[in-house]
């Protein structure tokens, strides 16, 4: 079994299980760089350590999925379900990401310099997502809590059946989903969002639109179900 040599793991000859087992052995504060992964799926999943993991090149599906602690950087693009169910820690992607980015995310931070596919932030339960580019359709579907900041455009049905989460969009919104409403961001929100973008190396748009829930779906109907 290979070991981590001076913070570098050449993954060419390692199975995905071996790579993840090595990562599971990292201690808080460790720094490691993974090479030759060739966009393999399921890298850096199920980790608790607060280590810094850099993936050279592209990552496949579910990179940094089911994690609670690590800071993962992908220097290329990432596949579907990146950072799914992230509890704490972060994922930073230099390129674009597929569908379902940060699905069911609970905490931590995700920053994507490029754009993402459909269902970005679907069922988010917390945490902070920043997308420098645009997001696809059905993003923030049933989002429960947390913040999704989109500097570019949003696809159709944005924020459908949203609960308490908050979405900010810099560009065009193709359409809002059921129960979602759009209002201009407040001056404080604008200032905070601009600082947030700049802190993460993302160029902020000229202004943001806030998307929140109208809460008309909070009650199935005004109590009549109780008897039937």
């Amino acid at each position: 079994m290979a070991t981590v040599t001076e913070g570098l793991i050449d993954c060419a000859e390692l199975s995905t299980r071996e790579v993840n087992t090595l990562l599971r052995g990292l201690a808080d504060g460790d720094q490691v760089r993974l090479t030759n992964l060739d966009a393999r799926h399921n890298i850096a999943v199920g980790l608790h350590c607060q280590a810094q993991i850099t993936i050279d090149g592209d990552a496949g599906y579910y990179v940094a999925g089911l994690c609670d602690g690590p800071d993962v950087v992908v220097t290329g693009h990432a596949g579907n379900g990146a950072a799914e169910n992230l509890q704490s820690g972060s994922l930073t992607v230099a390129g674009d990401v597929g569908a379902g980015l940060a699905a069911t995310m609970r905490g931590g931070r995700v920053v994507v310099a490029g754009s993402t596919g459909a269902r970005c932030g679907v069922l988010m339960k917390g945490g902070d997502v920043l997308v420098g580019g645009s997001v696809g359709a059905f993003s923030a579907f049933m989002m429960q809590r947390g913040r999704l900041v989109i500097c570019g455009d949003a696809g159709e049905h944005l924020g459908d059946s949203l609960y308490e989460g908050k979405i900010f969009v810099g560009g065009e919104i193709a359409s809002l989903g059921a129960d979602a409403q759009a209002t201009p961001a407040t001056a404080e929100e604008e200032a905070e969002l601009r600082a947030h973008c700049e802190a993460h190396g993302v160029t902020p748009p000229s202004s943001f639109t806030a998307v929140t829930s109208m809460r008309t779906l909070y009650s199935f109907d005004a109590g009549a179900w109780k008897s039937s």
Binding site: N42, G46, L66, N80, G81, Y163, F220, S228
Partner: protein
């Protein structure tokens, strides 16, 4: 008769058919009339708990044919009849059970914490597993359950990597028999502060659960999702896929092809805490038909399905149902409603509280209201206090034990030294429909060769 007086005309009609005035219409029965009027009042479909209420082709349409001269029975109280059951044999640490019956996934939220804990303790006492549900894993439930299956549902309410890594198996839920193709519901009365926090929701909201998984959509993605769960658990525990019985052959084959270690199949009789009324009675296929299709699907896959177990649920009431399902090809079964009934569901106590819900003991299906008179399907502390944990755990244990003894008794009568040796050959159909659905010969049609 020729009078224009309406009263005289009605009397004449009544004379022609004396029952016409009072006999109910078969199509628009009193129940249908009440249903239409209730919907006209509500302006939406009706919701309830429990499961299908209408009569369906069922396991009662099959009979078991024990040994005689042509084969030897085992002594009922003396000879060994194994009930040991293993699920997920391809995983490093499969579920190894002393009995072929587990407790199905029922959420904390739908059920009280006391009910969940009692189920865990009862299951552990007889060497079987219990399952979490659409609300995450309770610490008390984990502690109470030696073997605990962790559900991965579309909502991922309360889903954490820590709980995943302390689970004994994972069950990816694609559907439920009570409502295949639809998501879940937990109405506001049950979304207490604690339940809301566990699910990251506003307290008191009528909570809907999505039907589609957020991070995979079809079987091609499911392959990778299953691998992700295996990576996170280092391939140690079985990953199962639960299906509501509908397009069984295709769905079972796709689940296996996606890498499931076991397929959990829930027939249309399957219970629920809250579902639209019409779905329960009019969607999916009955458990008896589903198990046969699933077994055929698995057997058709050759080596690909080797070591993949079939777990079946939906309407199981007693050991006879269990024995018939094992004979039809299930490797294990799970129970939901029957376990709740063991806890005290529908028990004739607190009759006034049943009446306040508009029901009575024996007819209650009001789990969705959160006002369960016996403290099972509720989050109200004063109702939950009615369920004594120790006694409820003991009743769960007793039920599982009794069901297993019934299966063993039937297996011995058929000359089988393991409950898993029961086979279709031990059954006969009592109706042409059951025979057609299962391929089991109709009783009375055997011809000497």
């Amino acid at each position: 008769m020729t009078s224009s007086n309406g009263t005289i005309q009605s009397a004449a009609l009544a004379l022609e058919d004396p029952t016409l005035g009072t006999s109910p219409n078969a199509l628009f029965s009193p129940a249908v009339i009440a249903d239409i009027q209730e919907k006209a009042h509500l302006g939406r479909y009706r919701l309830r708990g429990f499961g299908a209420r209408r009569e369906l082709p069922s396991l009662d349409d099959l009979t078991i044919i024990p040994a005689g001269l042509s084969r030897m029975a085992l002594e009922g109280y003396r000879e060994h009849c194994s009930a040991t059951t293993v699920i997920g044999t391809r995983a490093e640490v499969p579920l190894t059970l002393d009995i072929p019956i587990g407790i199905a996934g029922m959420s904390y939220g739908a059920l009280s914490a006391t009910a969940k804990t009692a189920l865990g303790r009862g299951a552990t006492a007889v060497g079987t597993f219990t399952t979490t549900g659409d609300g995450g894993m309770l610490d008390a439930e984990r502690e109470a359950s030696k073997q605990l299956v962790y559900q991965c549902l579309p909502s991922r309410y309360g889903f954490t990597v820590q709980d995943l890594q302390r689970a004994d198996a994972v069950e990816i839920v694609v559907g439920q028999g009570a409502k295949p193709g639809t998501g879940g519901l937990l109405l506001g009365a049950k979304v207490s502060g604690e339940v809301a926090e566990a699910r990251s929701l506003p307290e008191g909201v009528d909570q809907r659960s999505p039907v589609r998984h957020p991070d995979w959509l079809g079987p091609d993605d499911l392959v990778i999702k299953i691998e992700e769960l295996r990576e996170a658990t280092q391939g140690r525990i079985p990953i199962m896929v639960k299906l509501g019985a509908a397009r069984v052959v295709d769905d079972v084959r796709l689940a296996v092809k996606s890498g499931a270690d076991a397929v959990v199949l829930d027939g249309m009789e399957g219970g629920t805490a809250a579902s639209p009324e019409m779905l329960m009675d009019h969607t999916g296929i009955p458990t008896m038909a589903a198990v046969v299709e699933a077994r055929r699907a698995l057997d058709s896959m050759g080596e690909v399905s080797e070591g993949v177990q079939l777990v079946v649920s939906g309407g199981i009431r007693h050991g006879v149902d269990v024995a018939k399902l094992l004979a039809l090809g299930a490797d294990a079964v799970t129970i939901g409603t029957a376990a709740l009934i063991a806890l005290n569901c529908n028990k004739p106590v607190f009759a006034e509280d049943y009446a306040a819900l508009g029901t009575a003991p024996g007819a209650c299906h009001h789990c969705h209201t959160g006002r369960c008179p016996v403290g099972i399907a509720t989050q109200e502390p004063e109702l939950e206090a009615r369920l004594d944990l120790e006694e409820a755990a003991l009743r769960t244990k007793h039920l599982l034990q009794a069901l297993t003894m019934e299966v063993q008794m039937l297996a011995r009568a058929c000359g089988k030294s393991s409950v898993h040796h029961l086979s279709p050959e031990d059954l006969r159909a009592l109706s042409p429909a059951a025979s057609a659905m299962t391929g089991i010969p109709l009783a009375g049609t055997a011809i000497p060769t």
